[in-house]
Amino acid sequence: MSNMIKGVFGAVLGALYGGLGTLQIAAALTGPAVPFVPASLFWGCVLLVIGAVLLTGVRNLARGLDDGVVFFNVGILLSVSFGVISLLAAGAGALEAAIAGEAWSVADTLAPAVYLAAIGAAGFLAWCRAFFRGLATA
């Protein structure tokens, strides 16, 4: 049953990553930027990759393969990780702007990588902690 919920969650999140990733690439290559979707070729590709991992997980879950859950877990991990990367980079940008006395606004940080990661984080807290705890024996 929980697999069903994960499946739906993964499908939705995966689709969001795919869609927004494509938008970011499109914005970078040609045209107009959508608000809250900054144009960036590379971030767009990264989002596509995360989406692909999540969707593969969903597909495998649907087929009843036992590695479906793992793809889902890794996809969520990637989602959260890149959200953290994006936030750190934004924070550093703020710091640099402060040092150089330049303007900076919080709106600069709002990229899909961040807000989609918030959704991913919810998923992580709900389902993934046990799985990854099995790994980390530092």
Binding site: V49, T56, D67, L78, I99, F132, L135, T137, A138
Partner: protein, 665 residues
């Protein structure tokens, strides 16, 4: 007995180095990467009035004569005769670890086993009966958890006890009647040579001779009993003996294990499952590329504020110096020469350290081992071994630690090719040149241009590798086999230490070579005495004019020639030199303006220049490293010459082709 020597031995990836650090408190490089500790490390610790010296031997799976690591470990124990050997054993991997134990036992030295990573084994529900194991092996077994520092005192106590009370003996695996008979005969022959009998445990020596061990044969060659030994050996097939003995060792281990261990939960564990995703044939490479891009993005972003601080600090320092030091020439030496030269390298310290921190983190989690595996097929197609890709990755930060990382590569030719092509990977030092010129001449497209330069660097490395493979260093790449350790979350401290050992090389480069080089540069720019700093009349200028004809076909003038010459010391210095030569300093846009205003420079020449800087000779620190790692002036010289020629040719080609794409200057 107050002074005791302990040798630490064990398989790679068992936490031996962590244990060593915990025992001795010294700084070491810790990685999930096998083969990293090639050099011996020593440390000290005191326990109960004993002054103990601990030697960290290279991690090895066995003790054959075939790899330098194994020979180093083996010879140390045989020749230096430490008081006791502590073998660090991975409790989650007993079977393979005990293989080494059987081989160590034959060396005759007292042994203590540190059953490390006990927490990980226990976490899977596995229990190990230490007393039983100890009784069966006739070796004390102590439970340790290196990363938490558990069991260290007990370990030291056991080691001291063994060192003081245990006689030098050989307990070992019984190899079956036939083999044992041969061993007995050989031992009988060898015993006649008193010298040999004193230096080496004869049973061990006999067993190695039967296996056809080169190193053992060499030891016996000079002996008076050599011919009798040869007689005995000529009748046998070493391969057969070696196979039989290996079988027997595993038989013994297989007999011991069930008596001492109750297995934990089996079935696919989390590490294995994650590997299914990470090495997936379609998603594996995209995931890797995404993580790599994330790494570089994060590095540049987070380093920026720190770099800005350092630049501001340097500017302040420079101004303070200019105002307060007399006489003027000294102020110039300190300000323009030292602060300018060394400063241009220091600005990159944040960049380097953060990149290495992230890479160390990835390495310590075990992910990089998977990445090497994923990239292996691609690397093989290029003619490089899969393990070569880590040195190349590190090269993006600084070529010096990148080249040193090539030590983990086994094949000599593979290693050499990896070292020779590493300088083409665009290190951080070249970035200021790109930023300056791309920024000045390409405006909004600057980012794209820099990216293309990085790609060109990678392409040059790949192309050169293929070229070398087909011409001067032919042969197949050694096959890829690497242990995949379980994923772990490294402690902050571990990653920081790991980062430091690599980053420190960069700082040392700034502190020594660049410092010296900056002095030389300053001298050339300031003499003959009284000349305007860095002008056409100075020695530097004279050199520039001398070299100008060589670079004229590329569209460079004497000022560029001088800057390139100085860049030989460290590529960061190119920008600083240009600042001096154009009289603008590096601050703000003054230099960019000056460059744009120069009629001799255009977008095309800027592009050619950037290509040249990308490819021409490695910087002085890198050259020193190549010399040290290859041990050969010949290859070092080749590297310099090849780089120059390639840079010159490609810059020329780019200069000719570019106008078509850029539509004229």
């Amino acid at each position: 007995m107050t002074g005791i020597r302990i040798a630490l031995a064990g398989n790679p990836n068992v936490g031996k180095t962590t244990l060593f650090n915990a025992l001795t408190g010294s700084r070491q490089h810790v990685g999930n990467w096998p083969g990293v500790t090639v050099e011996k490390k020593t440390g000290r610790v005191n326990r109960n009035g004993h002054a103990i010296e601990v030697i960290d031997l290279p991690g090895t799976y066995s003790l054959t004569a075939y790899s330098a690591d194994e020979v180093v470990a083996r010879d140390y124990i045989l020749e230096e005769k430490p008081d006791v050997v502590v073998q660090v054993v991975d409790a989650t991997n007993l079977e393979r670890n005990l293989y080494l134990t059987t081989q160590l036992a034959e060396l005759g030295v007292p042994i203590v086993i540190a059953l490390n990573m006990a927490d990980a084994a226990e976490a899977t529900g596995c229990t190990i009966d230490r007393e039983r194991l100890s009784a069966l092996l006739a070796i004390p077994v102590v439970r340790t958890v290196g990363i938490r520092g558990e069991g260290l005192d007990d370990l030291l106590d056991a080691a001291i006890r063994e060192a003081e009370t245990s006689p030098y003996h050989e307990h070992t695996v019984g190899y079956g009647n036939d083999v044992e008979a041969m061993i007995a005969s050989l031992v009988g022959v060898l015993a006649a040579d008193k010298d040999l009998a004193e230096r080496y445990p004869l049973r061990w020596l006999a067993a190695r001779l039967l296996e056809g061990d080169e190193n053992a044969l060499a030891k016996v060659r000079e002996s008076p009993v050599s011919s009798r030994v040869q007689d005995l050996l000529s009748a046998i097939d070493p391969d057969e003996y070696e196979a039989t003995m290996a079988d027997r060792r595993y038989d013994v281990i297989a007999a011991i294990l069930p008596q001492v261990r109750t297995a934990g939960a089996r079935g696919m564990n989390a590490s294995e499952m994650v590997d299914r995703v990470v090495t997936d044939r379609y998603l594996g490479i995209p995931i890797f590329l995404a993580l790599m891009w994330g790494t570089f993005e994060l590095t540049f972003a987070v380093a920026a504020p720190f770099a800005a601080l350092i630049e501001a600090g340097l500017a302040w320092l420079s101004a303070a110096v200019a105002g307060s030091i007399e006489p003027a020439w000294l102020a110039s030496l300190v300000g323009d020469g030292l602060i300018g030269g060394v400063g241009s390298v220091l600005v990159f310290v944040p960049n380097i350290f953060i990149l290495f921190l992230i890479l160390s983190f990835l390495e310590d989690t075990g992910y990089l081992a998977r990445a090497a595996f994923i990239m292996d097929r691609l690397m093989y197609a290029i003619g490089l071994p899969g393990k070569a890709f880590i040195p190349m990755l590190i090269g993006f930060g600084c070529n010096v630690p990148g080249i040193m990382a090539a030590r983990t590569i086994e094949g000599e030719k593979d290693r050499l090719i990896t070292i020779l092509v590493n300088p083409f990977i665009s290190c951080s030092a070249r970035l200021p040149v790109y930023i300056l010129f791309a920024g000045a001449f390409f405006g909004a497209a600057a980012g794209g241009v820099v990216f293309l330069l990085y790609v060109l660097g990678i392409a040059a490395a790949i192309g050169s590798a293929k070229l070398f493979r087909h011409t001067i260093l032919p042969g197949e790449s050694s096959p890829f086999i690497m242990e995949m350790p379980p994923y772990r979350l490294p402690t902050v401290w571990t990653s920081l230490l790991h980062m430091w050992s690599r980053g420190a090389m960069y700082v040392r480069k700034a502190g020594t070579i660049v410092f010296a080089g900056a002095l030389v540069v300053w001298c050339l720019a300031s003499f003959p005495f009284g000349v305007e700093y860095g002008s056409s009349a100075s020695l530097a200028g004279a050199l520039g004019h001398l070299l100008a004809p060589l670079v004229a076909p590329l569209g460079f003038d004497w000022k560029i020639a001088v800057a390139l010459l100085f860049g030989f010391v460290a590529k960061e210095v190119v920008v600083g030199s240009l600042g001096v030569l154009y009289g603008t300093g590096e601050e703000g846009d003054a230099l960019s303006m000056a460059l744009l205003a120069d009629p001799g420079l255009s977008a095309v020449t800027a592009l050619a220049l950037m290509v040249f800087v990308l490819l021409y000779t490695p910087c002085l620190a890198t050259i020193a490293t190549i010399r040290k790692e290859t041990g050969s002036w010949r290859w070092t010289g080749f590297s310099v010459a090849y780089g120059l020629v390639l840079a010159w040719l490609l810059a020329l080609i780019v200069g000719q082709i570019a106008p078509f794409f850029l539509g004229g200057a």
